[in-house]
């Protein structure tokens, strides 16, 4: 499974990555984390605000930090 964090490096993006890593650990899912920091690459997704969370190339959230439970649900769904 591939998890992408979209964001130019602001504190919110770092926090999203932390929450997402915790979620993957709690769910017991092996995932590869990719940070997308270039604005052109970020804009390839239908996103309006950073940070964005992409699981297996599907945009799950943008402009906010989802709760850990939400991310766990998405991860299980994508498995």
């Amino acid at each position: 499974m591939e998890i992408k964090i979209l964001g130019t490096g602001c504190p919110n993006c770092q926090r999203l990555e932390r929450v997402a890593r915790e979620a993957a650990q709690d769910a017991g899912i092996q995932a590869e984390f990719v940070k997308v920091t270039d604005i052109q690459d970020i804009m390839a997704y239908p996103i309006l605000g950073t940070p964005g969370l992409v699981i297996n190339e599907v945009l799950k959230s943008s402009g906010r930090i989802p709760r850990k439970e939400e991310i766990i649900a998405w991860l299980k769904e994508a498995q």
């Binding site: 130019t8 919110n12 604005i39 996103i47 309006l48 605000g49 950073t50 402009g63 930090i65 709760r67």
Partner: protein, 491 residues
């Protein structure tokens, strides 16, 4: 002491004095609530509630005002400005509204408005918001017209802004209560500034402490300088304590409420109350004046706490506090350095220079303001103390507004980012338009200050915008006819 050293000490003293009086006078009741509002806007308002009005198929009379609204509500930090700008341009309403958004965001957000209003004057804050909305929309429309061919290309792409989300009523009430806290603390009307009761605390020595402070930080009231009162010194102490506890208490609140969270929230409430009462030290003790302001601030704080407790999820409140602290940590240190440096610089600049260049409301004066604004880069909000310095040194309010309009809109950094997204040709057209319109706003506002009737000026402004809108509509209609009619045509 050698003269040079003496001068250095003098400059240092001015810097510290400026910083202390700013911390004591402006920061607490104005900036602190504004930071909490900015945090709430980021954490609690879903972006889609505004951006769904920015889709491709939205009519112009909705998308342009919505873009301005997005600028003031959603874009408090550069983290959001750039992606949102690119999003509106590429996937949403197109170049025009994107430019409106870019123009309005730095001038129309709650932090800039509250700070301008309190530090310089409500009239400038109001002029700043009215003129940035009108010119923001105007610049957006002109850009859309000039580059309409490029823009038409984007129409082929899909509409990515159809997500539905609404603002909850509890969020709206919460935001209004925070605004009430800001207004109760800063509005200067009799109801709020009058004192309704006095308590005398038997603390002796406060009057000597205050005159010691006045000696330590000398000031000249005639030049618009402020000293540090005993109350100011207490507040600065509280502010420092707040910063220390918030580091642990609010900085780590995303992992859950901890002991420090409660300590720092308590300190914040205490500081608000201390800042809202009046304090008069005298030989017999310390008089505490219970002002209308204090009751207003106390009432709003109780209401905010109640709504936060009853209506919101603890997670939402954690998010709110965390975002607020993030803004403070991001903006406040630079602001402190900026105010300190401004305090030193104002000693070096001769008032005659400013008065000769921009002492009256002339084209040259307004242009000088804009020129300085474009080529100097200052961190977020530092433009405000700089403007205050110019005002104290004798700058006319017209050129001052021109400077205030141009400075946060344009900097080398923002021009580079903009041109990366929309291309250098469009970016430099935008720069030229901003310079032109900022000069114009300075002149218009300056004329109003000098006594021209507000209604006449507003009529001119409305007529200019009306003519622009009409011209754009006509051209737009004709383009559409040209585009649809010759299906077998050349293009």
């Amino acid at each position: 002491m050698p003269e040079a050293l003496q001068y250095a000490v003098y400059l240092l003293q001015s810097g510290l004095g400026n910083l202390a009086s700013y911390l004591a006078a402006h920061v607490l009741l104005c900036l602190l609530p504004a930071f909490f509002i900015a945090g709430a806007l980021t954490a609690l308002v879903p972006k889609e509630a505004v951006t769904r009005f920015l889709g491709r198929n939205t009519p112009k009379y909705i998308s342009y005002p919505a873009a301005a609204l997005a600028g003031s509500v959603l874009a408090v930090c550069s983290c959001t400005i750039v992606p949102l700008f690119a999003g509106i341009y590429r996937k949403g309403a197109g170049l025009g509204p994107a430019m409106t958004f870019l123009f309005f965001a730095p001038a129309g957000n709650i932090l800039a408005l509250a700070y301008t209003g309190v530090a310089i004057g409500g009239d400038i804050a109001l002029a700043r918001i009215i003129l940035s909305v009108t010119f923001g929309i105007g610049i957006g429309m002109i850009m859309a017209l000039i580059f309409r061919k490029d823009d038409a290309q984007h129409d082929l792409e899909t509409n990515g802004m159809d997500v539905k989300a609404t603002l909850h009523r509890k969020t709206l009430i919460f935001l209004l209560l925070l605004v009430a806290l800001l207004i109760a603390g800063t509005l200067k009307v009799g109801l709020l500034t009058n004192s309704y009761a006095t308590i005398t605390l038997p603390i002796s020595g406060m009057d000597r402490f205050q005159s010691f402070l006045y000696q330590l930080v000398p000031f000249d009231g005639a030049k618009g300088e402020e000293g540090v009162s005993a109350q100011g010194a207490i507040l600065i102490g509280l502010l420092a304590l707040m910063g220390l506890t918030a580091w642990r208490g609010l900085g780590k609140v995303d992992e859950g409420f901890n002991r420090w969270t409660w300590v720092s929230l308590g300190l914040i409430a205490l500081t608000f109350l201390t800042a809202a009462v009046g304090m008069v030290p005298h030989a017999g003790g310390l008089d505490i004046l219970l002002t209308g302001k204090m009751f207003g601030v106390a009432l709003s704080m109780v209401a905010i706490a109640l709504v936060a407790w009853k209506a919101f999820d603890p997670y939402d409140i954690q998010e709110w506090l965390w975002e607020t602290w993030r803004f403070v940590r991001q903006i406040f240190p630079l602001l402190i350095v900026g105010v300190f440096v401004v305090g030193m610089v104002r000693r070096v600049i001769r008032p005659e220079w400013i008065q000769a260049l921009a002492g009256r409301n002339t084209f040259l004066g307004a242009f000088a303001g804009v020129f300085f604004g474009v080529f100097m880069y200052f961190p977020t909000l530092v433009e405000v103390p700089i403007a205050k310095m110019f005002l104290d040194l004798g700058m006319h309010r017209g050129p001052l507004l021109a400077y205030l309009m141009a400075d946060p809109e344009l900097s080398l950094q923002s021009i580079l980012i903009t041109s990366k997204i929309i291309g250098p040709k469009k970016a430099w057209t935008y720069v030229a338009l901003v310079a032109l319109f900022s000069t114009l706003s300075g002149l218009i506002y300056g004329a109003w200050v000098d006594g021209a009737s507000a209604w006449v000026l507003l009529a001119y402004l409305a007529a200019a915008i009306g003519a622009l809108a009409l011209a754009l509509t006509v051209i737009d209609r004709r383009n559409r006819r040209v585009a649809t009619a010759p299906a077998h045509g050349t293009e």
